[in-house]
């Protein structure tokens, strides 16, 4: 049993994967669908892949169509994130996660952010409102 932290469900589902942590907000239009690698210049994750990972980031940015289109293209290539943990929800990103059926949570116990680091194995259970750091 790993350490558990409370959270709040945005998009339903359960996911378990390796964590990747971004300090910057994300626009999924500027991630290469073929690899899942962030191509936005000067982004915290530039050059890193978030494909099939648990993506931990502040929130979304960009116009009213870019998140859905970006996640759709990633999904089509099997490279969308396995799950998402955010701090600032807004409608454009939230609706896109729900439609693309990617588990997403927010309002996580602040202690989680002190523990979590890149490469940790993490399980999100959005339906029961908790996150677990497995190793």
């Amino acid at each position: 049993m790993g350490k558990q932290f409370k959270c709040h469900k945005i998009s339903e589902g359960v996911a378990e994967a390796e964590a990747v942590v971004s300090k910057d907000s994300i626009m999924f239009y500027l991630i290469d669908p073929a690899t899942g690698v962030v191509i936005e210049k000067a982004h915290d994750l530039e050059g890193k892949s978030m494909a099939n990972k648990i993506l931990i980031f502040p929130g979304g940015k960009g116009s009213s169509v870019v998140q859905a289109d970006g996640l759709y293209q990633l999904n089509a290539k099997g490279n969308s994130p396995a799950g998402m943990i955010i701090q600032n929800p807004e409608t454009v990103l939230v609706s896109s996660a729900i439609i693309m059926e990617i588990p997403m949570v927010d309002k996580v116990d602040p202690a989680f952010y002190e523990e979590i680091k890149d490469g940790d194995r993490v399980r999100i259970d959005a339906d029961h409102g908790y996150i677990e750091i497995l190793s």
């Binding site: 709040h8 469900k9 945005i10 998009s11 339903e12 940015k61 960009g62 116009s63 009213s64 169509v65 998140q67 859905a68 289109d69 996640l71 759709y72 293209q73 089509a76 929800p89 807004e90 409608t91 454009v92 939230v94 609706s95 896109s96 729900i98 439609i99 927010d106």
Partner: protein, 402 residues
Amino acid sequence: MILTQEQQDMLDGKYGKGTAYAMKIQVAIGESFDAERMVPITRAHVALSNQEADLWFCEKLLNEGAKCRVTPTVNPGFCLEFFKNRDMVAPEFADLMQRTHNAYKAIGAQLTYNCTPYIDTNVPNFGEITAFSESSATPYINAVWGARSNREGANSALCAAITGYVPEYGLLLDENRKGDILVEVQADMKNDYDYHILGMLGKKIGPGIPVFTGLPRETITKEALRNLGAELNTSGAYGMYHIEGFTPEAQTLEMAFGGKEPVRKVVLTNDDMAEILEEISLSGNRQIDFAMFGCPHFTLEEVKHIARRIEGKKLAKEMWILTSSHVKEMAVRMGLDEIIVRAGGCIVPDTCPDQPCWRHLAGKVGITESPKCAYYPQRRGIHFVIRDLDTCIEAALTGEVK
């Protein structure tokens, strides 16, 4: 969230699978924002984008039997007839636009193909609850008309048009519409273009609801307000703003801030404006290949202004003026279209700059007065010099910008 019997029936599939799917998405959005209930809308605007995800989502709802209860207006893709007749678009992209057209027609949208519904095709009343996507539209209807909408995505706005409801949270509630940031504009505001540049200062303004002071009343036109909203959402994410003594929920500063102190104060100067222009525009003193206007769509007044400037002259370079089909039709009736065509320009209805119909401009250098026009087509290899409208017109006449 507590649902009415009708809303619960929608969720349970009594109104068909497509409506149930739309309602399921909206309930999930509502719950994520801790909304307590859903409220009816009377208008919607969907930012149709003619991209794969847009078509996939609309077709999915349609194939499961969804129909719009509230007829939404829609954003432009590109005008099929115009670009097919001129052989400017590859067959696979013509097919995509045709399928997008067919899907939105079948689901019951009003096929306006116009990104300025708040001026042209879908104007709400004060206090009206709506679901508006399109980044220039949401702030315009909230700030200028005093109507209410969250910053919907194209997909969530389509769901709202289908169910006729939105979850009640965010900008739908009085307490969330008050200003956070006092923005004192010291920069010289002379014309509509200056509002484009002002809006690009989102990074300096920061997150929250800005309250602008110092904007000269005579410069606050519908075009200026359109430009301000469009660029605030190019440089950041803003569903709402206030202008002291002008917008309806900001008759006074006290009213704008709801009696509270601003969280932050920001001063914007001529230097800030010059600095941001340097960052977003190609440098001047060069030949240009074409001029493009109408991101967001140009008004009849702007078309008239261009016609006056180029009447009886010959343009050295292509000039594309993007408008609603209504403005195009008026321009034809009023003889403005003829003046522009004679000079070598073209009014294009129903079309957006970020579409595959502009493939002949890839690798070329354009000039525009709109930073948003310059921002999105970059990924198509089209780059722009940004200048005020009269400088752009002059550049199209001579072929170069100083």
